[in-house]
Symmetry: C2
């Protein structure tokens, strides 16, 4: 149904270009001129596809948020012991980061200058809180250490996972690479760097 090769832009194909530039230069550091050069069309042509720069941002972060919240509805996140659900969410978050890398990257860098940015930050907070609740439940069930406050632990956990967008680059090995990454994240987050004695 969707045409595989097309010379003209759709809002989505234009979005893909724009998000790359946003990530390279920062949203505020990107002008419509930069976007037009990257897309190979004039500035004004961009306005034929989207209402403006902020709409591009909105579409991008919306897509990222969809991916993340989708995880919480999967059966692995809703059934079983809390610790297993948390591990599932951790692994799947790493997956989504890789699958939707440019979109999630943009989401994680949003600062709050515009309405769209504040909306994105708000929804991100919601997601974090849902996971924090999961982690707290796993502590209560006696599976996770209780000597680190759940909110703090959640933040450090996500700090580790989210940092992936700062350096991960696909190398062509596809799913294998992503799975290896998710494995490493889960190992370090749950069992730490040290060799278990």
């Amino acid at each position: 149904m969707t045409m595989p090769k097309r010379d003209t832009y759709t809002p989505d194909s234009l979005l893909a270009v724009a998000v790359e530039v946003f990530n390279e230069r920062g949203y505020d550091g990107t002008s419509m001129e930069h976007l037009s050069q990257a897309a190979g069309i004039s500035k004004s042509s961009i306005y034929h596809h989207v209402r403006g720069k902020e709409e591009l941002l909105h579409r991008a972060v919306g897509r990222a948020l969809e991916g993340l919240f989708g995880i919480l509805d999967e059966s692995g996140a809703t059934t079983g012991r809390a610790v297993d659900r948390l591990e599932y969410v951790t692994r799947r978050t790493a997956d989504v980061l890789v699958e939707e890398l440019p979109y999630v990257t943009l989401l994680l860098r949003v600062r709050g200058n515009t309405g769209t940015e504040r909306w994105a930050m708000e929804r991100r907070r919601e997601f974090d809180q849902r996971v924090a609740a999961l982690l707290k439940a796993a502590v209560a069930e006696g599976d996770l250490r209780a000597d680190v406050e759940p909110r703090l632990a959640t933040r450090l956990l996500f700090g580790m996972i989210n940092s992936v967008v700062e350096w991960y680059r696909p190398d062509g090995r596809g799913t294998a690479q992503a799975e290896q990454l998710a494995d490493a994240v889960v190992r370090l987050a749950f069992d730490g760097l040290r060799i278990q004695r």
Copy 2:
């Protein structure tokens, strides 16, 4: 020697104001007009103290880098088993993040649009490589797990530590709070979330 209360700005006191605004709005999202309002002086007055916006950025990230590289020269980072040196660097990095929070925050968000930003990114990479070497040595000495590649482990470790700038806010408990944070980071990074069996 330094006057505790002064009505007029020095480059450093102006820097402190500017860095707050940069962190709130992003460097590119901050105009000289924003800075002048935050400082309570006119745009042109700012140019009496610094050459321009980029000099403020340079001073800020320079200060952050000084703090980080200073750690690597401390005796705790140069003597003893590699695993202990790594733990020392981890703990002290958390300290420096807290002590120099706004400056390090800015450093970690730099994107590479200007010469100053590219210089900062380069120096940051140097720091990361120094720590990666330490982690690799600890694996070789048999103290850290070998089933996660050292570069990957270093990145995830710093992802966790550096995320502190995204949410940490001093609460008046001073050193006690910072120490608690460093403890949590070291515990999670080295021994993980899971209760050790």
